[in-house]
């Protein structure tokens, strides 16, 4: 069942918002937590339920028409995701989310690392999902975890990065965009440092792919991971991109149906890519519907997405700055996208979040799964605004009004 999008050539925010049932059903909702999960356009929701109503069957297994159709839709999604990031289809592995993608890589990456390389380099701004798997890998394998610091203006310290990456570096891993600070990291630069020493690069793109075009061939990263649910797609779908040459040499660590070539009681040989890493039944309906999320993004176009979101980010930062006694943790509109953290002096983030919730504003408060970063910044928690394509300046105005109210209450 083809889902029709009908998006105008000219960017029209009202038209975009209309595509999202949740805003029609909650007209007062001001949703500022897209970094946690994005809202879903009707075409994505319908694609998932239409699949279940019309074509539901397991993939790769049946000879019958229904299974052939579901397999076709499933693989079409894979092909389009590959095109979306300029990869080959066999380099796209479906997982359940970014976190799982990273864990899968961490579980097998030592298969392709030289024994003399004993260090894993991460950054201070990593989400726990791109910190803990590497930390644990290092612990289990007597490796050192090296941390690239951030600067006082919330950017990566590239000079330090250069110092910290050397011939002992096995892996360099970092986020493309920080989920707490919004910082866009110069991935290409870091990858160039890593390549000097043949270190593998793993990029966490969870906060990037909905905001700007990612080309893994251009970046020349070895692995790139992201989640469907943060790019207007369904939850329960994650993507693991890995260079074919590497994925081919890595052994799977989740075993079962669908990832085999031959099986006996003594021995199993594994399937080729990408099935080798897709044991068991995947989130088929979710994966099929992810295709519609890509369509949604591409119909609008990254140029228009960037224009709208950059302008909105600038507007948000400017208006936040006008509030007195505010601390903003963000490197500025030229170096960030989508995310701004802040604190109001003397008011705990949780209290701010609770007060603005009374005005139907969904604002995140806490450590955003970046406890080490919070510690570095000497903060217990922050409030986080994260923007999606559907957010408007009017919504930011209402947030500012609500924040002023919070200030009054705590005066």
């Amino acid at each position: 069942m083809e889902q029709k999008l009908n998006i105008s050539e000219e960017f029209n925010i009202e038209e975009i918002r209309e595509k999202f049932p949740i805003f029609n059903n909650n007209p007062n909702l001001i949703y500022l937590d897209s970094a946690a999960t994005s809202q879903k356009p009707e075409t994505v929701i319908n694609a998932q339920s239409d699949f279940l109503k019309n074509f539901n069957s397991n993939v790769h297994r049946g000879i019958y028409k229904l299974s052939i159709k579901s397999t076709e839709l499933f693989e079409k999604s894979r092909n389009n995701i590959a095109k979306f990031i300029n990869a080959k289809s066999q380099e796209i592995v479906f997982t359940k989310n970014t976190t799982e993608s990273i864990n899968i890589i961490a579980n097998s990456i030592l298969d392709i690392v030289d024994n003399n390389k004993t260090e894993i380099v991460i950054t201070e701004m990593e989400h726990h999902s791109n910190l803990i798997p590497w930390q644990q890998l290092a612990k289990k394998n007597n490796m050192k975890l090296i941390v690239i610091p951030i600067t006082n203006d919330y950017k990566l310290d590239y000079d330090e990065a250069k110092n910290l990456i050397n011939d002992k570096t096995a892996i360099v891993t970092l986020c493309h965009v920080s989920n707490s600070l919004g910082t866009i990291n110069n991935i290409a630069e870091i990858i160039s440092y890593a390549k000097e020493f043949d270190a593998l690069t793993v990029i966490d793109g969870a906060q990037a792919v909905s905001h700007f075009k990612v080309d893994v061939k251009e970046l020349d990263c070895d692995f790139y991971v992201f989640s469907g649910h943060k790019m207007y797609g369904p939850d329960g779908v994650g993507i693991l991109y890995g260079k074919e040459e590497f994925l081919n040499k890595m052994n799977p660590t989740t075993y079962g149906g669908g990832m085999i070539n031959t099986v006996s009681f003594d021995e199993t040989t594994f399937a080729d890519l990408p099935e080798k890493f897709e044991a068991g039944t995947q989130n088929i309906s979710g994966i099929v519907a992810l295709n519609n999320a890509i369509e949604f993004i591409e119909e609008i176009g990254f140029d228009k997405i960037k224009d709208h979101e950059s302008e909105l980010l600038r507007y948000t930062i400017d208006n936040l700055k006008s509030l007195e006694l505010i601390e903003i943790y963000n490197p500025g509109v030229d170096n960030s996208i989508g995310v701004i953290s802040f604190n109001l002096d003397g008011i705990h983030a949780h209290d701010i979040s609770t007060i603005v919730d009374e005005d139907n504003i969904a604002l995140r408060a806490g450590h955003h799964c970046c406890i080490p970063l919070m510690k570095k910044l000497k903060l217990a928690a922050t409030c986080r605004i994260s923007l999606g394509i559907y957010n408007t300046k009017e919504e930011i105005d209402k947030l500012i009004e609500s924040l002023n109210k919070a200030k009054e209450i705590f005066k």
């Binding site: 983030a349 949780h350 609770t354 217990a380």
Partner: protein, 122 residues
């Protein structure tokens, strides 16, 4: 629903909590540290217990308005009381003490004080 939730009492207690401070090491009989990693609420509670009576109780730490207000109210409530009374205090009683509706997302903030007391005395 409006900002009733932050009735003056809670804000006042947040700004000027009762029983903030420490008890001298020579007199302190119990202490406990409790924190909520999801938001950074962090309380250390100190007791001076004599003959099963809480002669003094103080706390240090930082946190959100609900956490601090709750700790102020709870420490006021238990000061001078017998330990047996304190052991009877349950979650509902603490929530009632606050006199405002506490959403599911803020329960931990409201009950951190009780967790700290329990940790010290039980």
């Amino acid at each position: 629903m409006n900002s009733e939730i932050y009735r003056e009492q809670i804000i006042d207690l947040y700004k000027y909590p009762n029983n903030k401070g420490v008890i001298d090491r020579t007199e302190m009989t119990h202490s406990h540290h409790e924190n909520n990693p999801t938001c950074g609420d962090d309380i250390t509670i100190y007791f001076k217990v004599n003959d099963n009576v809480i002669e003094d109780v103080k706390f240090e730490g930082s946190g959100c308005a609900i956490c601090i207000a709750s700790t102020s109210l709870l420490t006021d409530k238990i000061k001078g009381k017998n330990l047996s009374v304190v052991n009877e205090i349950n979650d509902d009683e603490v929530l009632e003490m606050l006199q405002i509706p506490i959403s599911a997302g803020r329960l931990k903030c409201a009950l951190l004080s009780l967790r700290a007391v329990e940790g010290a005395l039980k």
